[in-house]
Symmetry: C2
DNA sequence: GTCTATACAGGGATAGAC
DNA sequence: GTCTATCCCTGTATAGAC
């Protein structure tokens, strides 16, 4: 949305002048990458601007040239992970299907899951215009994606047709969120079992033989 | 676990001596109450020990006599809300049932939901012994509660008998968590519709006529 | 027992020099 | 573009008044 932290300069939009500010672009990417690493080690509170700057070899004040705020920096990290995940999903299949979606949803780096969770928590607070907007839109697009998966599954006969798809999409996303939280807190919880159960519940009654309690 | 922040002194355990330190007990409760209010206004970062102390009329250092750490104070707020919710649930029915459970799970105060979410996020990070243990145990007990609800529902014929109860309990709790997050971020999402759908999905195939997409 | 005063190390944000 | 210096804030810790 024409944000400032984004539209610094058109990076590769080749005007006549020789490839302009490559250093700034690289620096920006470097900051994002290092932030993820530092966060994995030190967590939310430990990932100070000074710690990030130190890991790169610049002062903390330098970071402000690229990100107006620590919160904006964190949001941008998540934005980029979403972009990467989207691109990766596009490259593989067309209709990812159930298991693929949840596998894609959970970030491999535990630090990133914690970061996402922390930022969502912030967004729930009063007066958080920026973050809240970001996550509201993000969840809307994830629900839409889930809806498409469900619709395609329904057409293949693996999802029953007597339920509202929008509500089912909400529930599916909620299950991924909630189950991943429980798994992260307690290895005893099996996320894939939970997702498999939901898939089974969503399937038409005529499906294959279920397993007993 | 015989924690220190708890066992300051036996409050009303009537020994021979006249009711001992009632002031400290009241003060402690006052701190917990005020913390919730301040958090609702100022959010996680805004709720500094100084801000809480100011709201009460004491210095921030005074708070440390009751809570060793800011994080411990926040955890204690959540602990107490859990206690209250448990007591309230006990007072009403025996087998709460589906809707009652989710209504009970979501805190009316939006600030408290944000606080809980923030603390869960903290617990997900590496090296968070205290918080993580707390939430691991908390989720275990909530899952157990959910399991009882599901079992009782199964005996009444409103939950199908061909699914593992433990996994279903995980999924149920995950749905409550995830849906409440989505609802808080976006009023467009209807949490009760999501829970109703899950209840419908859990019901045996012989149930009443479902509604169309 | 309860609290204030005070000190310390560290945080994010910011202004201006280079 | 990056730095240094600075501001005001934070959680934590200790000393000592009452």
């Amino acid at each position: 949305m024409t944000k400032n932290a984004e539209g610094k300069a058109s990076p590769v939009s080749g005007q006549g002048s020789r490839g302009r500010y490559p250093k700034g672009i690289l620096r920006r990417q470097q900051i994002l990458d290092r932030t993820v690493e530092v966060f994995a080690d030190l967590g939310f509170e430990g990932t100070s601007l000074r710690a990030i700057g130190e890991a790169i070899g610049v002062s903390h004040a330098a970071l402000r040239r690229y990100f107006e705020t620590r919160e904006e920096l964190f949001l941008e990290v998540l934005r980029e992970k979403d972009r990467q995940a989207l691109a990766a999903a596009h490259d593989s299949g067309t209709a990812p299907g159930f298991a693929a979606m949840s596998a894609n949803y959970v970030l491999k780096t535990p630090g990133l899951m914690a970061l996402r969770h922390s930022m969502v928590a912030r967004a729930l607070e009063p007066g958080r215009g920026r973050s809240r907007e970001f996550f509201r839109d993000r969840y809307r697009s994830i629900r839409q994606e889930a809806r498409l998966v469900l619709q395609s599954a329904r057409e293949q006969g693996t999802v029953r047709s007597d339920i509202p798809l929008d509500t089912a999409a909400s529930l599916l996303v909620a299950a991924m969120d909630g189950l991943s939280t429980q798994t992260l807190l307690d290895p005893e919880v099996d996320m894939s079992a939970g997702m498999a159960l939901l898939e089974q519940l969503l399937a038409p009654a005529t499906a294959e033989a279920p397993r007993e309690t």
